[in-house]
Symmetry: D2
Subunit: 173 residues, 4 copies
């Protein structure tokens, strides 16, 4: 990331994961959202429930910007913590857009939808960070490559603080 | 628009028009962007040059939020006044998303791309406002219907002040 | 169209128009579909009713290939004359794909959806042929340009025979 | 798959895999394409090289229908064995469409792009068949679930004959 973005550009972090996850996973997502907001990042999600809602809640309540990229065409489908909403009307194909919108991607848990977003993030060479403790594809792919096109791996984070440090390093390069 | 959006939701206005327009048209777009920002609206554009850049510039310099929904996959293609960028990688098909992202649409001038956005805005029943003085499809469609599915028409604005009043009325209903 | 496509490639003609048109317009669309099939062309439509269904019916009953590019995700939404179905799940944004899929585009009647397809066809520099007798955007744009990016115009056809001759000329060049 | 498609509808099988695979994998893909064509199926691919081209070649040379759903906007990007071409201009997001277009999906080898197609196939509840012998995600996912939304698994095929029997069973149900 040596290219320089314009001064006013806000860094965007996509937070992805199950639309229904357990309470602990939601708490982690909320804490991540909050830390991202306090770090000056905008939080991108798919605008739905579960991890998406929790991350948006954490960010919005910390005063951050939250953007939901929806599968449907109606803004009313977004969770109530999205300050900005991009309805796509593209169904699950919007997963490509969620991944593209992140300057980096953070995943917690995750089924097929999250995995497709990780794939697009990988293809578009986004730094991808995962938390292993709530299973799913985040756990399965931690420390691994998706394929051989890149030398890099999906990076495991051991804490929200760890994530914040890694993000700062990523964008300082 | 009787549905109630969550309290923190920011109203989004899509500003569309030629990627190369004359100086006067750019001045109008910039003034619109500025007024929208001061009115508390986020300004959505296709993230490119011409009307898109001018509207983003006006809004950004007035301290407003600006979002560019790009045809390509790289954030570096956005004009430098976009604070947030949604790269879609969908080419011209992203015109459907620009239209969908607006709670209302404002058009100045406009060729085939702008016209496709007006069509999508019409299909998705967005209020569409146009300025006639710089020609293009904005002029041709002022006061007209795109087809018979709606009773409404494309609304002509005679000044930026007129636009701001009409937007306020639209969202108060 | 001086580029040479591989020998086995089948020329594809997109037929677009209202999803509900009158009986006469349907009869014309069916005749066009039939002539296209007999001319060796595959018929592309949006897979829905009205002009789309009539053109598909004409082509299928004449033994031709018919392809429906659907807005939804289910093949069961296609009219029953589509031999091949491409569900996109992209809603109205699929209009960009219908236009792109045609080596040429034929329009009858037409509201906002058809107009958006004409716009995309224009942007992607497809030859666009229209029949004026059933009104809509086909009539309004006959002999006109959509914008100044091309020197060409939307070509009016006065009969199905006229269309077939013009198509042959287009692809011979 | 108890729903009945119209009599003239042609079953479509999406064949997915690496755009550059080894000679043996290509030979398998070609044999699959050939068998699918002889079985009366149309072969859908992403229209590119490697597995996509080999499957299209096998099918086309056996007299079958081949359809390439391209990431770009130009038909000239398709491999020369695609008889029909759907250019999407959507980049990698077209992977959602390739998966959706298959009544069933067959995967050989596969990196991130193929994996995203498997994810979409899973989300849209398509039967997914894989050959393990050329590694990649086809091997990793054979006999496994992508997530818990379905009871089913990714089905391993041990030969082209095995695939053809399984397809017939799938569509007879």
């Amino acid at each position: 990331m040596t290219d320089i973005l314009p001064a006013g550009r806000i860094k965007q972090i996509a937070v992805i994961g199950d639309s229904e996850a357990g309470e602990d996973a939601h708490r982690l997502a909320e804490e991540i959202g909050s830390s991202l907001a306090l770090g000056g990042y905008a939080v991108i999600t798919g605008g739905g429930g579960g991890i998406m809602e929790a991350a948006s809640k954490g960010a919005a309540e910390a005063g951050g910007l939250t953007i939901g990229i929806l599968p449907g065409t109606s803004k009313y489908q977004a969770n109530c913590y999205c300050k900005l909403v991009i309805p796509t009307g593209m169904g699950h194909a919007r997963n490509a857009l969620t991944a593209l919108a992140g300057d980096a991607i953070v995943a917690i848990s995750g089924g097929a939808g999250t995995l497709s977003e990780i794939c697009f993030g990988w293809i578009y060479q986004k730094p991808i960070f995962v938390f292993k403790e709530y299973g799913g594809w985040s756990k399965k792919l931690a420390g691994k490559s998706v394929d051989h096109r890149l030398d890099s791996v999906i990076i495991e984070c051991i804490s929200v603080e760890d994530l914040m440090i890694r993000l700062r390093e990523t964008f300082e390069d």
